[in-house]
Symmetry: C2
Subunit: 153 residues, 2 copies
Protein backbone atom coordinates (compact mmCIF):
# COMPACT_ATOMS: atom_id res chain seq x y z
CA UNK A 1 0.00 0.00 0.00
CA UNK A 2 2.08 3.00 1.12
CA UNK A 3 4.79 0.45 0.40
CA UNK A 4 6.09 2.65 -2.39
CA UNK A 5 6.77 -0.14 -4.85
CA UNK A 6 9.07 -2.05 -2.51
CA UNK A 7 7.11 -5.22 -3.28
CA UNK A 8 7.75 -4.79 -7.00
CA UNK A 9 11.45 -4.22 -6.36
CA UNK A 10 11.66 -7.40 -4.29
CA UNK A 11 9.80 -9.27 -7.02
CA UNK A 12 12.22 -8.10 -9.72
CA UNK A 13 15.18 -9.15 -7.58
CA UNK A 14 13.59 -12.53 -6.86
CA UNK A 15 12.94 -13.13 -10.54
CA UNK A 16 16.39 -12.04 -11.70
CA UNK A 17 18.13 -14.17 -9.08
CA UNK A 18 16.22 -17.35 -9.75
CA UNK A 19 16.28 -17.00 -13.52
CA UNK A 20 19.99 -16.22 -13.49
CA UNK A 21 20.84 -19.24 -11.40
CA UNK A 22 18.51 -21.46 -13.37
CA UNK A 23 20.09 -20.40 -16.63
CA UNK A 24 23.57 -21.05 -15.22
CA UNK A 25 22.61 -24.54 -14.06
CA UNK A 26 20.87 -25.31 -17.36
CA UNK A 27 23.89 -24.21 -19.38
CA UNK A 28 26.20 -26.27 -17.19
CA UNK A 29 23.98 -29.35 -17.54
CA UNK A 30 23.78 -29.00 -21.31
CA UNK A 31 27.49 -28.52 -21.84
CA UNK A 32 28.49 -31.20 -19.33
CA UNK A 33 25.87 -33.89 -19.95
CA UNK A 34 23.89 -32.93 -23.04
CA UNK A 35 20.66 -32.74 -21.04
CA UNK A 36 18.59 -29.78 -19.84
CA UNK A 37 17.18 -29.01 -16.39
CA UNK A 38 13.78 -30.16 -17.67
CA UNK A 39 15.18 -33.62 -18.36
CA UNK A 40 17.07 -33.70 -15.06
CA UNK A 41 13.79 -32.98 -13.30
CA UNK A 42 12.20 -35.98 -15.01
CA UNK A 43 15.07 -38.24 -13.97
CA UNK A 44 14.89 -36.83 -10.45
CA UNK A 45 11.19 -37.62 -10.15
CA UNK A 46 11.66 -41.12 -11.53
CA UNK A 47 14.58 -41.72 -9.17
CA UNK A 48 12.43 -40.94 -6.16
CA UNK A 49 9.72 -43.20 -7.56
CA UNK A 50 11.91 -46.28 -7.87
CA UNK A 51 11.40 -49.03 -8.55
CA UNK A 52 7.79 -48.78 -9.70
CA UNK A 53 8.12 -45.73 -11.91
CA UNK A 54 5.41 -43.16 -12.50
CA UNK A 55 2.44 -42.83 -14.80
CA UNK A 56 2.40 -39.84 -17.13
CA UNK A 57 -0.18 -38.05 -15.01
CA UNK A 58 1.86 -38.44 -11.83
CA UNK A 59 4.97 -37.12 -13.59
CA UNK A 60 2.99 -34.13 -14.84
CA UNK A 61 1.82 -33.40 -11.31
CA UNK A 62 5.24 -33.69 -9.69
CA UNK A 63 6.94 -31.59 -12.34
CA UNK A 64 4.13 -29.01 -12.24
CA UNK A 65 3.92 -28.83 -16.02
CA UNK A 66 1.23 -29.56 -18.61
CA UNK A 67 0.30 -33.03 -19.85
CA UNK A 68 1.71 -32.40 -23.29
CA UNK A 69 5.02 -31.25 -21.89
CA UNK A 70 5.62 -34.57 -20.15
CA UNK A 71 5.24 -36.40 -23.44
CA UNK A 72 7.71 -34.09 -25.15
CA UNK A 73 10.39 -33.98 -22.46
CA UNK A 74 10.41 -37.74 -21.96
CA UNK A 75 10.76 -38.36 -25.71
CA UNK A 76 14.49 -37.60 -26.00
CA UNK A 77 15.18 -39.43 -22.73
CA UNK A 78 13.56 -42.51 -24.22
CA UNK A 79 15.42 -42.00 -27.48
CA UNK A 80 18.70 -41.86 -25.54
CA UNK A 81 17.86 -44.96 -23.52
CA UNK A 82 17.67 -43.26 -20.11
CA UNK A 83 13.95 -43.80 -19.62
CA UNK A 84 11.60 -46.60 -20.60
CA UNK A 85 7.94 -46.18 -21.47
CA UNK A 86 5.55 -49.09 -20.91
CA UNK A 87 1.79 -49.46 -21.06
CA UNK A 88 0.05 -50.45 -17.85
CA UNK A 89 -1.13 -54.06 -18.28
CA UNK A 90 -4.19 -53.31 -16.15
CA UNK A 91 -5.26 -50.17 -18.03
CA UNK A 92 -4.29 -49.61 -21.63
CA UNK A 93 -4.71 -45.86 -21.27
CA UNK A 94 -1.91 -45.32 -18.81
CA UNK A 95 1.74 -44.97 -19.73
CA UNK A 96 4.30 -45.94 -17.08
CA UNK A 97 7.75 -44.36 -17.16
CA UNK A 98 10.76 -45.91 -15.41
CA UNK A 99 14.49 -45.27 -15.46
CA UNK A 100 16.83 -47.68 -17.19
CA UNK A 101 20.14 -48.74 -15.65
CA UNK A 102 21.81 -46.22 -17.92
CA UNK A 103 19.37 -43.57 -16.72
CA UNK A 104 20.24 -44.32 -13.11
CA UNK A 105 23.95 -44.02 -13.84
CA UNK A 106 23.59 -40.72 -15.69
CA UNK A 107 21.24 -39.29 -13.06
CA UNK A 108 23.62 -40.18 -10.23
CA UNK A 109 26.41 -38.23 -11.93
CA UNK A 110 24.20 -35.27 -12.73
CA UNK A 111 22.81 -35.14 -9.19
CA UNK A 112 26.29 -34.88 -7.70
CA UNK A 113 27.23 -32.05 -10.06
CA UNK A 114 23.92 -30.30 -9.41
CA UNK A 115 24.38 -30.38 -5.67
CA UNK A 116 27.92 -29.06 -5.98
CA UNK A 117 26.84 -26.18 -8.22
CA UNK A 118 24.02 -25.17 -5.88
CA UNK A 119 26.25 -25.33 -2.84
CA UNK A 120 28.77 -23.14 -4.63
CA UNK A 121 26.12 -20.60 -5.57
CA UNK A 122 24.84 -20.54 -1.97
CA UNK A 123 28.30 -20.58 -0.39
CA UNK A 124 27.80 -17.04 0.88
CA UNK A 125 24.53 -17.88 2.64
CA UNK A 126 24.75 -19.26 6.19
CA UNK A 127 22.52 -22.11 7.41
CA UNK A 128 20.51 -19.63 9.48
CA UNK A 129 20.08 -17.41 6.44
CA UNK A 130 18.98 -20.37 4.32
CA UNK A 131 16.25 -21.06 6.81
CA UNK A 132 15.26 -17.41 6.92
CA UNK A 133 15.13 -17.28 3.13
CA UNK A 134 12.81 -20.27 2.93
CA UNK A 135 10.56 -18.78 5.61
CA UNK A 136 10.29 -15.49 3.70
CA UNK A 137 9.59 -17.21 0.38
CA UNK A 138 6.77 -19.14 1.99
CA UNK A 139 4.99 -15.85 2.69
CA UNK A 140 4.50 -15.15 -1.01
CA UNK A 141 1.13 -16.23 -2.43
CA UNK A 142 0.74 -16.41 -6.21
CA UNK A 143 -2.84 -17.53 -5.69
CA UNK A 144 -3.76 -14.08 -4.47
CA UNK A 145 -3.51 -12.88 -8.05
CA UNK A 146 -6.37 -15.06 -9.19
CA UNK A 147 -8.47 -13.71 -6.32
CA UNK A 148 -7.55 -10.14 -7.11
CA UNK A 149 -8.49 -10.55 -10.76
CA UNK A 150 -11.88 -12.01 -9.87
CA UNK A 151 -12.60 -9.17 -7.45
CA UNK A 152 -11.93 -6.65 -10.19
CA UNK A 153 -14.40 -8.30 -12.58
Amino acid sequence: MSDDREAVRAWLTLLATSQGLKKAVDTAFRSGYGHSIARFDVLSALDRARPGGLRAGALTERLMVSDGNTTQVTAPLIRDGLVKRAVDPDDGRVAIFTMTKKGERVFAEMAVAHRRWIEDAFAGVSPAQLKSLRRLLALISPTDIARSRKDAA
Copy 2:
Protein backbone atom coordinates in the same frame (compact mmCIF):
# COMPACT_ATOMS: atom_id res chain seq x y z
CA MET B 1 29.81 -28.18 3.73
CA SER B 2 28.10 -30.32 6.35
CA ASP B 3 25.11 -28.31 5.16
CA ASP B 4 23.25 -31.54 4.46
CA ARG B 5 21.46 -30.40 1.33
CA GLU B 6 19.86 -27.36 2.95
CA ALA B 7 21.15 -25.25 0.07
CA VAL B 8 19.41 -27.50 -2.46
CA ARG B 9 16.17 -27.30 -0.48
CA ALA B 10 16.33 -23.51 -0.42
CA TRP B 11 17.05 -23.50 -4.16
CA LEU B 12 14.02 -25.68 -4.91
CA THR B 13 11.81 -23.39 -2.83
CA LEU B 14 13.22 -20.31 -4.53
CA LEU B 15 12.61 -21.78 -7.97
CA ALA B 16 9.10 -23.00 -7.20
CA THR B 17 8.08 -19.66 -5.70
CA SER B 18 9.38 -17.48 -8.50
CA GLN B 19 8.15 -19.74 -11.28
CA GLY B 20 4.74 -20.05 -9.68
CA LEU B 21 4.31 -16.32 -9.33
CA LYS B 22 5.69 -15.68 -12.79
CA LYS B 23 3.25 -18.13 -14.32
CA ALA B 24 0.36 -16.52 -12.44
CA VAL B 25 1.34 -13.05 -13.65
CA ASP B 26 1.85 -14.28 -17.20
CA THR B 27 -1.54 -15.97 -17.28
CA ALA B 28 -3.21 -12.86 -15.88
CA PHE B 29 -1.50 -10.64 -18.46
CA ARG B 30 -2.50 -12.91 -21.33
CA SER B 31 -6.11 -13.23 -20.33
CA GLY B 32 -6.49 -9.56 -19.42
CA TYR B 33 -4.47 -7.85 -22.14
CA GLY B 34 -3.49 -10.47 -24.71
CA HIS B 35 0.21 -9.89 -24.05
CA SER B 36 2.79 -11.97 -22.20
CA ILE B 37 5.31 -10.97 -19.52
CA ALA B 38 8.00 -11.00 -22.21
CA ARG B 39 6.16 -8.30 -24.12
CA PHE B 40 5.42 -6.33 -20.95
CA ASP B 41 9.14 -6.34 -20.23
CA VAL B 42 9.85 -4.83 -23.64
CA LEU B 43 7.27 -2.09 -23.08
CA SER B 44 8.68 -1.49 -19.62
CA ALA B 45 12.20 -1.03 -20.96
CA LEU B 46 11.00 1.27 -23.72
CA ASP B 47 8.95 3.28 -21.23
CA ARG B 48 12.01 3.95 -19.11
CA ALA B 49 13.93 4.90 -22.26
CA ARG B 50 11.49 7.56 -23.41
CA PRO B 51 11.49 9.51 -25.54
CA GLY B 52 14.56 8.35 -27.47
CA GLY B 53 13.82 4.64 -27.53
CA LEU B 54 16.43 1.90 -27.54
CA ARG B 55 18.51 0.14 -30.14
CA ALA B 56 18.08 -3.62 -30.44
CA GLY B 57 21.36 -4.29 -28.67
CA ALA B 58 20.41 -2.11 -25.70
CA LEU B 59 17.03 -3.85 -25.41
CA THR B 60 18.76 -7.22 -25.47
CA GLU B 61 21.07 -6.13 -22.67
CA ARG B 62 18.32 -4.69 -20.45
CA LEU B 63 16.05 -7.71 -20.91
CA MET B 64 18.96 -10.11 -20.36
CA VAL B 65 17.98 -12.26 -23.33
CA SER B 66 19.61 -13.25 -26.62
CA ASP B 67 19.80 -11.02 -29.69
CA GLY B 68 17.40 -13.15 -31.66
CA ASN B 69 14.82 -13.09 -28.91
CA THR B 70 14.53 -9.31 -29.07
CA THR B 71 13.64 -9.50 -32.75
CA GLN B 72 10.96 -12.11 -32.12
CA VAL B 73 9.33 -10.56 -29.06
CA THR B 74 9.13 -7.12 -30.62
CA ALA B 75 7.55 -8.51 -33.82
CA PRO B 76 4.00 -8.96 -32.47
CA LEU B 77 4.23 -5.64 -30.60
CA ILE B 78 5.02 -3.94 -33.91
CA ARG B 79 2.26 -5.87 -35.64
CA ASP B 80 -0.20 -4.67 -32.98
CA GLY B 81 0.97 -1.08 -33.25
CA LEU B 82 2.38 -0.77 -29.72
CA VAL B 83 6.01 -0.42 -30.80
CA LYS B 84 7.66 1.24 -33.78
CA ARG B 85 10.87 0.08 -35.41
CA ALA B 86 13.04 2.63 -37.23
CA VAL B 87 16.49 2.52 -38.75
CA ASP B 88 19.09 4.82 -37.25
CA PRO B 89 19.73 7.57 -39.84
CA ASP B 90 23.39 7.73 -38.76
CA ASP B 91 24.08 3.99 -38.98
CA GLY B 92 22.04 1.76 -41.25
CA ARG B 93 22.88 -1.30 -39.18
CA VAL B 94 21.10 -0.24 -36.02
CA ALA B 95 17.38 -0.64 -35.37
CA ILE B 96 15.74 1.78 -32.95
CA PHE B 97 12.60 0.73 -31.10
CA THR B 98 10.18 3.26 -29.57
CA MET B 99 6.70 3.04 -28.08
CA THR B 100 3.73 4.43 -29.98
CA LYS B 101 1.00 6.44 -28.26
CA LYS B 102 -1.10 3.30 -28.22
CA GLY B 103 1.83 1.43 -26.67
CA GLU B 104 2.10 4.00 -23.91
CA ARG B 105 -1.60 3.75 -23.16
CA VAL B 106 -1.56 -0.06 -23.03
CA PHE B 107 1.62 -0.13 -20.95
CA ALA B 108 0.20 2.33 -18.41
CA GLU B 109 -2.81 0.06 -17.88
CA MET B 110 -0.71 -3.08 -17.66
CA ALA B 111 1.74 -1.50 -15.22
CA VAL B 112 -1.06 -0.61 -12.81
CA ALA B 113 -2.43 -4.16 -12.91
CA HIS B 114 1.04 -5.61 -12.54
CA ARG B 115 1.79 -3.57 -9.45
CA ARG B 116 -1.53 -4.50 -7.89
CA TRP B 117 -0.95 -8.22 -8.51
CA ILE B 118 2.53 -8.12 -7.03
CA GLU B 119 1.38 -6.20 -3.99
CA ASP B 120 -1.39 -8.74 -3.47
CA ALA B 121 1.05 -11.64 -3.74
CA PHE B 122 3.41 -9.93 -1.27
CA ALA B 123 0.64 -8.74 1.05
CA GLY B 124 1.84 -11.13 3.75
CA VAL B 125 5.39 -9.80 3.67
CA SER B 126 6.19 -6.77 5.83
CA PRO B 127 8.42 -3.91 4.60
CA ALA B 128 11.20 -5.13 6.89
CA GLN B 129 10.85 -8.64 5.51
CA LEU B 130 10.93 -7.33 1.93
CA LYS B 131 14.25 -5.69 2.68
CA SER B 132 15.55 -8.81 4.35
CA LEU B 133 14.48 -10.91 1.38
CA ARG B 134 16.33 -8.70 -1.06
CA ARG B 135 19.44 -8.78 1.11
CA LEU B 136 19.40 -12.59 1.23
CA LEU B 137 18.84 -12.93 -2.51
CA ALA B 138 21.84 -10.71 -3.14
CA LEU B 139 24.05 -13.29 -1.42
CA ILE B 140 23.39 -15.87 -4.14
CA SER B 141 26.02 -15.99 -6.90
CA PRO B 142 25.16 -17.84 -10.11
CA THR B 143 28.59 -16.94 -11.43
CA ASP B 144 30.18 -19.31 -8.95
CA ILE B 145 28.93 -22.19 -11.09
CA ALA B 146 31.06 -21.19 -14.04
CA ARG B 147 34.08 -21.02 -11.76
CA SER B 148 33.30 -24.38 -10.23
CA ARG B 149 33.01 -26.01 -13.66
CA LYS B 150 36.33 -24.56 -14.81
CA ASP B 151 38.06 -25.79 -11.66
CA ALA B 152 36.82 -29.31 -12.37
CA ALA B 153 38.21 -29.29 -15.92
